[in-house]
């Protein structure tokens, strides 16, 4: 009886010994996992020399650890199977008196090693997955946070400007553009945002000599006629380009730029338009770079625009 206990415990001990081996090979404390798609192909396609631990030998060592664990597991299963067969035969030979009940034999000699093997296999798989996803420290610096792109906002549009000319997005290529979707009958937020835009444009032009074109697209084309739009925008800044058009064209453009707008408080002819008050910063290639909400005032806006410009210039150099 004690012999079997001894064998049992020794086999368990062998498994923990194997897992210790595994932990020494696995440098889980020295990695950082960063993003999903990039790291998987990066950590195995470019194994560079690492100051603390060589990546190549690292991965090959961890492979050998898995192999060792699997071999030990199978070995243990084999041993236990033979043991169980031997014990069952002994049980049978020694006659009617059962040394141990069969259920105990079955559970201790079949299920337990099988369960341990399954668990060991699962742990090995999890560890392998971690290794595959992890990036060694000092290897991949771009964590994906500044290269990640949001949803692609923007698209082609065709509207009429306040000079009665038809413009589409090609006319704005080569300029930095600040785009705002609003309407002239806005009680407070609309005028505030347009004023902020005008102030920021002024600051940028006077201090940094950097021209940004402000564009105001009306989401209330039924009431904002072209002359009215021109008169309204002239009070803020003569450079602001006003755009309007038929309802379908405006709706199409608003959908492309992910702007929500809806008529509320309708009382006959008088209504307000609820909308998402965002100012978009668009680069010369007509790609939306940033989105500014109502919490930005004129100085912060100009600072942020300058930051974007500097980033673009640094990338180009």
């Amino acid at each position: 009886m004690p012999i079997f206990r001894f064998i049992f415990f020794s086999s368990k001990h062998r498994f923990t010994h194997a897992s210790n081996l595994l932990q020494r090979f696995g440098p889980s404390k020295r990695t950082q996992s960063c993003g999903y798609a990039k790291s998987a192909k990066d950590s195995y396609t470019k194994p560079t020399a690492h100051p603390i631990m060589n990546t190549e030998t690292q991965t090959s060592r961890s492979w050998s650890a898995y192999v060792v664990v699997c071999c030990l597991g199978f070995l243990r299963l084999l041993v236990d199977m033979y043991l169980s067969i031997f014990i069952l035969r002994m049980n049978f030979v020694l006659g009617g008196r059962n040394m141990w009940p069969n259920s105990y034999l079955i559970s201790s000699l079949f299920l337990q090693p099988a369960a341990l093997l399954v668990f060991g296999g699962f742990a090995a798989f999890v560890h392998y997955n971690d290794e595959r996803r992890a990036i060694r420290i000092g290897q991949d610096n771009s964590c994906g946070s500044d290269t990640v792109a949001g949803p692609i906002i923007g698209g082609p549009f065709t509207l009429v400007n306040t000079e009665y000319q038809i413009v589409n997005e090609q006319g704005f290529l080569g300029n930095w553009v600040l785009l705002y979707f609003g309407y002239t009958s806005s009680p407070d937020v609309g005028p505030d945002q347009v004023q902020i835009m005008a102030n920021a444009i002024d600051t940028l032009e006077l201090e940094e000599n950097f021209k940004v074109l402000p564009v105001f697209v009306t989401i209330d084309p039924q009431r904002d006629t072209l002359a009215h739009l021109r008169a309204y925008l002239k009070e803020f800044d003569p450079r602001i380009v006003g755009l309007t058009g038929p309802v379908s064209a405006v709706r199409q453009m608003a959908q492309e730029y992910r702007i929500y707008f809806k008529k509320v408080e309708e009382e006959g002819d008088d209504y307000l338009v609820e909308s998402s008050h965002n100012i978009y910063l668009i680069d010369p290639k007509m790609k939306v770079v940033r989105c500014f909400g109502v919490e930005y005032d004129a100085e912060e806006l100009s600072k942020e625009i300058l930051k974007e410009l500097k980033k673009r210039q640094n990338k180009a150099d």
């Binding site: 009429v160 009665y164 000319q165 058009g245 009382e267 008088d270 307000l272």
Partner: protein, 101 residues
């Protein structure tokens, strides 16, 4: 095409009541009315303004001035905003007098 008819300049009226001067007059009247409300806050509000706002009869003249200078939808918008800020201030300042929460 619809765009060409738009570009030809049909129906070009200018609504002057949202331009700068009108806006500023509206804001001034609105502020006058609300300050009247603050000053007379101990009087009982009897008159109905709009969207659930009540005001005492002393402020009736400033109310009329306010309504004259602003569009109806703007009046409702500002009244609603005023009620909301009033309510949050009441919730924030009332901690000592109310028991429980």
């Amino acid at each position: 095409m619809a765009l060409e008819t738009y570009a030809s300049g049909k129906g070009d009226e200018i609504h002057t009541d949202v331009l700068l001067k009108a806006r500023q007059a509206c804001y001034k009247a609105r502020d006058a009315f609300y300050s009247c409300l603050e000053k007379q806050s101990d009087k009982k509000p009897t008159e109905i303004a709009s969207v659930g706002l009540l005001y005492p009869a002393e402020c009736k003249s400033s109310r009329d001035e306010y309504v004259k200078n602003c569009r109806a939808s703007w009046v409702k918008h500002f009244d609603r905003q005023y009620c909301r800020t009033k309510r949050t201030h009441r919730l924030l300042d009332d901690r000592e007098t109310r028991r429980g929460v």
